[in-house]
């Protein structure tokens, strides 16, 4: 009966009237300085959207029937109007899922969250032990996240998410993460490490090895039913039967997902904060709806994409060439293999001469790390602030 109807994935590739999944980074301010931060966050941008601007965006999202937004940052809860905006969104039928390192999830806040039907909380944790986590997210960040999970559980908040970026150092801890999640009545969510933002500086040393990718794939096939992934591992789908990996296996950038940044710039996806993927600005380009529907970049992304160098590969239908942002930020051609291509085509591409683009914006505290990055697990000691304005914005 539906044989004449194109597959859903193909229809999604032509774009939808509104995004399914919208990420909204509310602020670049952050109390942490994770080495792999996608948005190179740290300091607040002076041109951050005002409370009124944000409410106008929420009104538009309600009209477009964007059912929920994924709010992140930076650390979104450090915005003084954060809870006001969360309440405004949920009153306007825009559900909120927000990502936090836990800094503001006190027992009082947890109790308040437990009282809402429309708010979901995602606590970021990149190690099942403090040693592994704090090497990436900074000293004390493991304890902070666990305290937040404890507060949520104690307040009766059901089904928080523990959000893990899979790295070379934590890929062996997936079962431990799952136990941690069940201990707090939470759901585990694991996503792919992207070479975006500061992630570009550490990707070479942190991304899972080829053997670990296979291990991850099998873990996902065995445990996928209980684990959320944001469908971010579609580059692995060529490792097995089509459909073995749950979720939509396609790049949704500009088609079903996009990102609004703290100053109202709209990017094709949360992993692509760079001029190359900038579609427009909600303030200067006539609002979010107009950018989503008419931005030349988004129209281009909704056109049929060339399989390029992957055209002759039998797995192209499974992985669709992988992640556009991962290719772009590792300096690989967009119409070629993913740097973590499971057929191994990314390896020679990475070994060849390549020019890695620098992120367009950088809100990091102090200077970015430069030069070679240590290959062993190191817990970075807290650096004394060079100037008072480099201190945590919290």
């Amino acid at each position: 009966m539906t044989s004449t109807v194109p597959r859903l994935v193909e229809q999604f590739e032509h774009g939808l009237d509104a995004p399914i999944c919208l990420t909204w980074e509310l602020t670049y301010a952050c109390n942490l300085a994770c080495v792999h931060c996608l948005s190179s966050s740290g300091k607040r941008d002076p041109d951050e959207l005002s409370t009124r601007d944000c409410k106008d965006i929420i009104d538009e999202l309600e009209r477009m029937q964007v059912f929920y937004v994924n709010i992140g940052g930076g650390e979104p809860t450090v915005r003084p109007d954060f809870w006001e905006l969360v309440d405004y969104a949920t009153e306007h039928h825009v559900g909120v899922k927000f990502s936090t390192n836990g800094v503001r999830i006190t027992p009082e806040v947890a109790a308040r969250l437990a009282g809402s039907d429309y708010v979901d909380v995602q606590i970021s944790l990149d190690g099942a032990t403090a040693e592994v986590n704090d090497a990436v997210r900074g000293p004390g960040s493991y304890a902070m996240a666990i305290r937040a999970l404890e507060n949520l559980a104690a307040a009766g908040f059901a089904d928080a998410k523990i959000s893990v970026v899979v790295t070379r150092h934590n890929v062996d801890q997936l079962d431990e993460f799952a136990s941690l999640a069940s201990r707090y009545g939470a759901t585990l969510r694991i996503t792919r490490l992207r070479p975006s933002g500061r992630g570009a500086d550490v990707w070479d040393e942190l991304h899972p090895t080829a053997e670990q990718q296979v291990q991850l794939y099998h873990w996902l096939v065995a445990n996928g039913e209980r684990v959320l992934t944001g469908d971010s591992f579609f580059h692995l789908s060529g490792l097995g039967e089509p459909g073995a990996l749950a979720g939509l296996n396609m790049c949704g950038a500009g088609r079903v997902v996009c990102l609004i940044d703290p100053v109202g710039d709209v990017y094709a996806c949360p992993f692509a904060i760079h001029d190359r993927f900038l579609a427009g600005n909600v303030l200067s380009d006539g609002g979010f709806n107009k950018v989503w529907k008419d931005a030349p970049l988004f129209r281009e992304l909704r056109e049929p994409q060339s399989a390029g160098a992957c055209g002759s590969c039998g797995h192209y239908d499974s992985c669709r060439g992988g992640c556009m942002a991962a290719k772009f930020f590792t300096g690989l051609p967009i119409d070629g293999p993913d740097p973590e291509c499971v057929q191994g085509y990314g390896v020679p591409a990475l070994a060849a001469e390549r020019d890695k683009p620098r992120p367009a914006g950088d809100h990091s505290h102090g200077r970015r790390r430069s030069g070679p990055v240590p290959l062993t697990l190191t817990v970075y000691p807290p650096a004394p602030p060079q100037r008072s304005c480099n201190e945590s914005p919290v």
Partner: protein
Amino acid sequence: MRGLLIVSAPAQERGAASSPAEFDPDHAWRLHPQVAIRPEPFGALLYHFGTRKLSFLKNRTILAVVQSLADYPDLRAACRAAGVEDSQQGPYLHALGVLAGSSMLVPTDEEERRA
């Protein structure tokens, strides 16, 4: 045919959601009050604010059925009204059963129906 809908991954273990009612296509059903529908060219998106679960209706006919459920005494009548003859209803009833199983649809209670 792979089916008329896709139901997103694990929301079923969400503690807050009540367990789904037993599926009976001869009963009247309606959309859960916390479910919103967004029509799209391919069919529609369904979102349940309680379970945070997203489903995709994969054509316009199943969308028409889901949108008109409240007007009919049972699911077979709703399908028929959308132009799906009894002999073709299998995939539709299956899809509706999956929606009921994820609490997207709830049985209409008798009092409500008579009111």
